[in-house]
Symmetry: C2
Amino acid sequence: MRKFSVGVDFGTLSGRAVMVDVSNGEEVAVAVHEYTHGVMDEKLPDGTPLGVDWALQHPQDYLDVFHITIPQVMKLASVSPEQIVGVGIDFTACTMLPVEADGTPLCFLDKYKNRPNAWVKLWKHHSAQDEANKLNAIAKKRGEKFLSRYGGKISSEWLIPKIWQTVDEDPEIYDAAARFIEAADWVIWQLTGIETRNTCTAGYKAIWHKHDGYPSNEFFKALHPKMENLVDEKLSQHLLPVGTKAGTISAAAAKLTGLKEGTAVAVANVDAHVSIPAVGITSSGKMLAIIGTSTCHMLLGDIEKEVPGMCGVVEDGIIEGFFGYEAGQSCVGDHFQWFVENCSPAEYKAEAEHRKTDLYALLTEKASALKPGESGLVALDWWNGNRSVLVDVDLTGMMLGMTLATKPEEIYRALIEATAYGTRMIIDTFEENGVPVKEFYAAGGIAEKNPFVMQIYADVINREIKISGSPQTPALGSAMFGAVAAGKKAGGFDTIQEAAAAMAKVRDYTYKPIPPNVAAYKKLYAEYKILHDYFGRGANDVMKRLKDIKKEVRG
Amino acid sequence: MRKFSVGVDFGTLSGRAVMVDVSNGEEVAVAVHEYTHGVMDEKLPDGTPLGVDWALQHPQDYLDVFHITIPQVMKLASVSPEQIVGVGIDFTACTMLPVEADGTPLCFLDKYKNRPNAWVKLWKHHSAQDEANKLNAIAKKRGEKFLSRYGGKISSEWLIPKIWQTVDEDPEIYDAAARFIEAADWVIWQLTGIETRNTCTAGYKAIWHKHDGYPSNEFFKALHPKMENLVDEKLSQHLLPVGTKAGTISAAAAKLTGLKEGTAVAVANVDAHVSIPAVGITSSGKMLAIIGTSTCHMLLGDIEKEVPGMCGVVEDGIIEGFFGYEAGQSCVGDHFQWFVENCSPAEYKAEAEHRKTDLYALLTEKASALKPGESGLVALDWWNGNRSVLVDVDLTGMMLGMTLATKPEEIYRALIEATAYGTRMIIDTFEENGVPVKEFYAAGGIAEKNPFVMQIYADVINREIKISGSPQTPALGSAMFGAVAAGKKAGGFDTIQEAAAAMAKVRDYTYKPIPPNVAAYKKLYAEYKILHDYFGRGANDVMKRLKDIKKEVRG
């Protein structure tokens, strides 16, 4: 009898289940459910208006994903519940909510459903920026050593600023919350009936460290007196490493999902991080970049090092037994989209329409015909600030080398190259700080669909690039963790390494560096680096001064 | 009886005559003749092909301008030859040709008409670049002091490189040429029957100095042995200051033009320089900028100073008794055109079409709504290199401050502002080197037609800007010099100052600096200056290195 595992990937707008054959990783069925409430950024379901930069979700949508997509993939693949050895999930993060002691979301209660802070705050909920700024200032003043594990800054997207916002704005909700929990862990609770917490979101988003734990009660007290005992009262010190079993499908969850009661359920995981074993990475020295509108870089290391500008380093955060490093570029696909929308001439649009293609394809075709260095352009990829390695949201874009003969496709290519230089800067910074990057893998929309961009990346970083073999990389990774939760005896695997050996997938072709391009990009990257350091490390803070002037003028 | 003067302005594609009332400067008639042969940049009239960067003209076209336009303005204005006291002309420069001793162009002779070097080399003939490079290297090595009068570099557009090209490529033509002469002086020769040379083209284009004369025979010998006696044999040591009389209309010229034999003819002049008195400038401290595709800045000074990066300083070069300073920006309107053609999105084009306007007007409207500093952008206006004050064709464009919210009109405005900063840099450099700029005047297409750009200039340079009152500024200036050639007794004027008092024109409104804008631009210009010096004065020669890489790649 074939054995399967189900991976469920909770994205920003929808959730999808994938049915995967544990013997070979074949994805035999996929089902998607768009969240009924999507991203709530203007009002609550009852019409209560939301402030600027709010982004909430409805927990019922997550339950609906289980209820709709799991039965659907079983039906599509003609797989019986007995054939399913395990379930794993991955989620966006930090996406968090306040719940009662039994796991009931506060927003499900009539008395709180018109209170914005009672709902799920999505990863891109940005209205806790003030709290994040204050938190960073206090941590810096107190000399909290955790700061250095996060590139010197805690993001407004993470757990503690989001909780603090609740204390500030609606202390009654804070008091009513028995728990603040990642949605990732909450959905696992709904499957198993047991509260668990995973080391991945705790480490990357909740300032938790395997040996040092959470920040001290004194630190939390310094944020707000009410928060002094936050950890003991509303979080959990009991964390399970990713790759372990959270529990089994409860009777209620069996009814919800159609799965068999007692089916193994893996500890929750994060969409980016769960992708690592899905491409076959289970040891140190291999970086995975998920390249889409922005890029997330993950890398396993054998020891804990402080690398400037990374987004976090977490022991057991990605694969048990390794230090999981994360870095990021805040503007990649967004960059190209900005250019296409704002700077492509009408003549090109007409040509694209005439040839029944789109502007991206046309610009790619024209830019492909150029050789590295032929345009004479170099850009700094900071249109949305710089995450790694400078951790500075106030940096802005720069381009130079333009002449009266400069064409749009040259600018387009220079923007792509700039993001590749940004990736190389991250790789070099890891290596210079004792965390080797021997191999490079890529997943995500751009990695999968844009050979032109990927070849430039291979040439710039001078490394062969392997591409994820699955169009559903996170869901595949989740299914692998489901199979590991089941264990070998139940038809799964005892370790993620074994699961990866059987189920992980990369495409059968790779992008290999082309030597003359590598040589040209070596020279161009040297120029990028000089400009990167000049504008990014304080020699000329013109970008910040211009931002200050801009703010002043806009009032 | 009303008295008139005729000004004839020889441009790149056409010549125009203007009939001007000497009592008040009223332009009573204009006639234009498009050159039949235009700019010959691919082949000679007989089909002989031309090389890359050639740009020739046909002398017959100039004669046709006299023959067609002068009778036409007399007819249009119902002015009789007796009413015309004088004639003046202005020309593009350096536009030069080889002629026989009687003034016959070599290209008029059957035996030479298929020889490219026998024709008129237009100002923008650029194929003598090799000769210019060698000339500069030799002059530098020899420590020729004339270099500093020209910002350290002799342009390939000027007289000596163009002559040297003839020596290199077609020595027989060099030998056959009794004279090499500016077309400006040649057309005066055709009117008067007498060879004269003017101090303006000699000083700005032929390395002539009022006290030092031309470079030495040794220098010319170092260029090429054949050129040792160039000055004595083929140029002229006898130069007349602008503002003097070259002669009178000959019998032949009377027949050609319909003018009365004996009518006074002014010494030749250059289109830009002749515009100075046309806006009323006849004393030191007043700068005129002619702002079009590129910008030419002229300024009168009381003493000779070496100002870094100017295009030339010539005693009596603009107004007798003053040192005429020239500077330039190589890319102004061209800049804006590049942006409109290459970087305006289809959506804007559609909006412009829908509103029955054009992209320039639409971008201007949108950019006008922005306040200084609001975009957070700053650019270096070097898309076509930098003429003044850096004199470096290998510099390229730069822009910074872009975010994902940056709009096309913000970029457009930043490009306009960058050219204004470039103008301010020129003004400041003159002032810092002892040549005061107390007043600022503007003429040319952009000055006349673009109030949005001119207000930005006024705000950036923090000076009131007066605009030329004539749509034919050079022709008006030429007519004024024609009236001065005639003299007061004949119904003209004895000095250009008197002519200017009666005939010069500025518009009745000016652009006045707006204090809050001035304050904002002061800060932004400080940022421009830091970047200007960083990229332009050797701290980071990235632009040149990128150009080198580009050349290498393009092969």
